[in-house]
Symmetry: C2
Subunit: 548 residues, 2 copies
Amino acid sequence: MGEKIIIVGGVAGGATTAARLRRLDEKAEIIMFERGEYISFANCGLPYYIGGTIAERDKLLVQTVEGMSRKFHLDIRNLSEVIKINRERKTVEVKNLKTEEVYEESYDVLVLSPGASPIKPPIPGIETAESLFTLRNIPDTDKIKSFVDIKKPKKATVVGGGFIGIEMAENLWDLGIEVTLIEMSNQIMAPIDFEMASILHGHLREKGVNLILEDGVESFEQQGKIVKLTSGQFIETDMIILAIGVKPENQLAVSAGLSVGQRGGIQVNEHLQTEDPSIYAIGDAIEVKDYINGQSTQIPLAWPANRQGRLVADHINGIAVRYKGTLGSSIAKVFDMTVASTGNNEKTLKRLGIPYEVVHVHPGSHAGYYPGAFPISLKLIFERETGKIFGGQAVSYDGADKRIDVIATAIKGGLTIFDLPDLELAYAPPYSSAKDPVNMAGYAASNIAEGLVETVQWYEINEIVQKGGLLIDVREPIEREMGYIEGSINIPLGEIRDRLDELPKDQTIYLTCQVGLRGYLGARILSQNGFKVKNLDGGYKTYSSVYE
Amino acid sequence: MGEKIIIVGGVAGGATTAARLRRLDEKAEIIMFERGEYISFANCGLPYYIGGTIAERDKLLVQTVEGMSRKFHLDIRNLSEVIKINRERKTVEVKNLKTEEVYEESYDVLVLSPGASPIKPPIPGIETAESLFTLRNIPDTDKIKSFVDIKKPKKATVVGGGFIGIEMAENLWDLGIEVTLIEMSNQIMAPIDFEMASILHGHLREKGVNLILEDGVESFEQQGKIVKLTSGQFIETDMIILAIGVKPENQLAVSAGLSVGQRGGIQVNEHLQTEDPSIYAIGDAIEVKDYINGQSTQIPLAWPANRQGRLVADHINGIAVRYKGTLGSSIAKVFDMTVASTGNNEKTLKRLGIPYEVVHVHPGSHAGYYPGAFPISLKLIFERETGKIFGGQAVSYDGADKRIDVIATAIKGGLTIFDLPDLELAYAPPYSSAKDPVNMAGYAASNIAEGLVETVQWYEINEIVQKGGLLIDVREPIEREMGYIEGSINIPLGEIRDRLDELPKDQTIYLTCQVGLRGYLGARILSQNGFKVKNLDGGYKTYSSVYE
Ligand SMILES: Cc1cc2nc3c(=O)[nH]c(=O)nc-3n(C[C@H](O)[C@H](O)[C@H](O)COP(=O)(O)OP(=O)(O)OC[C@H]3O[C@@H](n4cnc5c(N)ncnc54)[C@H](O)[C@@H]3O)c2cc1C
Ligand SMILES: Cc1cc2nc3c(=O)[nH]c(=O)nc-3n(C[C@H](O)[C@H](O)[C@H](O)COP(=O)(O)OP(=O)(O)OC[C@H]3O[C@@H](n4cnc5c(N)ncnc54)[C@H](O)[C@@H]3O)c2cc1C
Ligand SMILES: CC(C)(COP(=O)(O)OP(=O)(O)OC[C@H]1O[C@@H](n2cnc3c(N)ncnc32)[C@H](O)[C@@H]1OP(=O)(O)O)[C@@H](O)C(=O)NCCC(=O)NCCS
Ligand SMILES: CC(C)(COP(=O)(O)OP(=O)(O)OC[C@H]1O[C@@H](n2cnc3c(N)ncnc32)[C@H](O)[C@@H]1OP(=O)(O)O)[C@@H](O)C(=O)NCCC(=O)NCCS
């Protein structure tokens, strides 16, 4: 073809586009501009280099300018900022940041992968706070790393409980620093729902992180030595990490008259073209279609950037590919635990007014009799009538990643909750159970959809009991010593068939147990004996992650 | 309904059926007969209890007769062997093994889940070999365990390189016993192909296991103190584990005139009914339909037994379910490595004359810059035209289980190799890469199917070179110091564009590198420059697992 293609941004999306473009076309002229010094670096590894888990800085540099230029025969220009797009003339203006020289470069096709930048709101004192950092690239990382190495801070405050905030909290803690984590919402990790995040809240606190929820930064005082919160609380700190989210780098696009969405993401069609068909945009800078609900959204993650880069290169080369939307599969290590999710959460579905059902199960990460198994708190959200899977969430010390990947794959395969029991997953005791946790979630969800059992959720049960509802805890008495729901009475499952005459037929009986399984067994016994019965979904384990 | 249901066999399939039957119908009369003392035990944990990884024997007993009877209101009769089915009268004859009493019990529905028994061929000396064991149940386990505890054998011989043989080899080795593993075929782990098994052969030998392939037991001499092999070799041993496979427990079915397949599995329809619609059969005892190729086969694993038990209970209760066949997803821990697979292997497809393509990739279990990543040797087998996935195989120190589960799910979702790059799997550095290994396998497979690259396989390249083919190794010179393919010449990838004039246009050029990636890059460069070129699939890594 021999087209001239210009790429703006030389990391996840940009570098991927360049590599695939070259594989498809030896003759194309490909210029990749990168504002920073480094291309193709491991953004996702930055927190772990700061914390020392990744020992060598070089490991963060996946490709160098020289190496990648040679391997892929590319014209890579780092320290070169694209400052303007002239759409009519099909040129960009580029500023060489070493020489300050500005020049024009023409293109046949332009690919924008400029990423996103950390949000830095005009909080009073933010400009004068001396040890306040954001984290996006290698220079940011170098700054934080040398600060912690040289200044040896004792106390750090991380503002924002998303991926990067949590990863930074963990990595600073790894360095022996006392960490305060401040999150404005009532939970960390927005992609999951409150009761699932509550497990992580407990874990962070167990580790000694000073977790402050539902509070925001009002101001930074004394050059950032004091963080003043909306609640009035003051936090003393030696350093601050601001990690409250990112905004798309959309200035180039906006000033070229290309549309952006409400939250600033560049708008593209299913071929990832902007309104100008010669200009593609990908990665953190764009708005994508939510794979589940079809709405526009922003999902600034590495998989989408890499996938989109590959697809754009194909489309430029005349291959009829399309990007099908983003599921939002994501995962984070939170100290010793893992949290992973895919698809939509309850909050999103509620906001959109989409009716859904929920099931919580807590099966072991592998066979219980084989050492090292941990329960996985696994949540499935689905449509009752069709069984369509809206999303999955998992929190565990082990095996959460695998189950969410399986659910994400099931969603992409158009499988429903009724198909999950039929997933034939590889089983031996060190890896799973004869019914894998995903099978189990499928069974439990199917039972709800098929009307075999009715459930109530953790947030409903307290009110039910307060209003005089009858809640029977079907665990053994000894289990209740570790905690139980106020107002519940105890009839162990094994006694229920013999004690039916103690139970009322004129009101709904609510059952609870440890994880929901015995409650389900009890519910089957009672409903077949003519009682009205509902089971507390997820049992005491889900309930107590919030209320204890 | 109030039907009377008799179940033969009280472990994986039988106990699952009983539990679900009761959940669906409080009124049914359910009798479960088990020949042995124990029901519902963890067959799959037995080797690990012998090796000491599972410390408590009680952990193997998932349910007790008393506990399960009470929980599910069942009539469970252990030490009770069903010795005959009277189909016309709809009764079974049962022998009480404590009293030797025989009695008849009537049924409306009969469910057979009698399992399979270890194959014990009439090898000369087998009857007089004193310390020869097979492993199927708790008494077998107790025997082996007390033998190793009391007799403290120094040398053990395991005959058979399947799951149980390998697990026993590892567990005896864990006890400090010198282990010889004898396998008649040229590879262990029949579900995977030879070059994948070769990685495991290397690992076993590294661990000090005396692995003997392509040799069989001719006789046991001196009460089993000497194992004589077909090759003439003699092995001295203090104990023998015979683990050369299982045969369906089909006597009851056969003597009742029910059909069994060629290899003895009871034949059932998609509702798991035998020819007699009142008699269901499930688990290791039956023949199933291979999910990929539709042929009859036997897959004696726990997932199918559990799944079938659940489905049979549903079908008995009038729910229109069907069993869709078995994929054969399986997994084993082999010392520090994991081997997992799903679907059909090359051997099966070849035997059936089904044309297929293969791709081998070796991506890291997670981001290379985050500690603890290991390459996963991942093989995908697919149909070129449609992209249909026939099967996947993975061997690694980490992450093999997840990728095979994802592929198994993709197969069940009807996804093709072209869909694998679109799987949006959860990524953070400790768990995966921005392109997950399954994405990567999908990309590489798609490139083959779409004609972007032609490949040759590890078993073809030696002959090609011997016949004068030109093989270029595109790795760096220093990499060749660790080994290279005889007869290959070295042109590093970075130099290839500058040295095109050294290369012939009149013959096919073969490329090789470490894992296949740079060879693919080189192939793209050469083919676009008018050369005929083929890439060695899987590179030196796949090749050397066989030839070094
Ligand atoms: C600390 C951290 C941890 C992360 N962890 C994860 C994780 O675990 N999992 C995950 O999925 N994602 C993670 N991400 C997100 C992931 O890195 C991004 O989604 C991905 O890099 C986006 O790719 P991109 O190409 O859109 O942007 P980037 O990779 O950021 O690349 C954009 C590049 O464009 C350059 N640029 C911008 N404007 C111009 C211009 N005008 N001219 C020239 N160059 C320009 C920028 O300098 C930048 O280098 C993490 C991000 C960070 C910062
Ligand atoms: C050592 C070992 C390790 C294993 N590891 C794995 C693994 O890691 N992963 C995996 O997927 N699978 C594994 N398996 C296989 C798995 O255990 C079986 O596939 C599964 O148990 C089959 O279930 P089933 O109900 O068909 O047979 P079983 O679970 O064997 O139950 C059959 C029962 O029926 C009883 N019985 C037979 N005939 C009669 C009769 N006439 N009257 C009364 N009772 C009768 C038998 O005594 C037996 O207890 C392993 C098996 C063994 C032995
Ligand atoms: C590395 C980077 C430059 C992309 O380069 P890339 O060549 O597309 O990616 P990879 O090196 O992973 O190689 C993938 C290619 O090799 C092929 N491949 C991989 N293994 C193969 C094998 N064993 N045999 C044959 N081909 C193979 C794939 O098919 C793919 O080629 P295709 O796109 O033409 O199908 C870019 O992703 C990058 O800069 N990454 C770092 C930044 C980043 O992603 N940050 C966010 C996460 S931290
Ligand atoms: C344990 C055994 C008796 C089966 O009992 P089971 O009750 O069917 O299985 P489980 O205890 O796993 O429970 C599964 C049931 O609980 C439900 N369930 C699980 N977790 C739940 C939760 N949190 N909330 C509500 N329901 C839940 C499932 O939906 C399923 O019910 P369903 O079949 O009616 O849909 C049987 O599998 C067995 O004997 N296993 C040991 C032998 C064996 O399998 N060996 C081979 C492997 S080592």
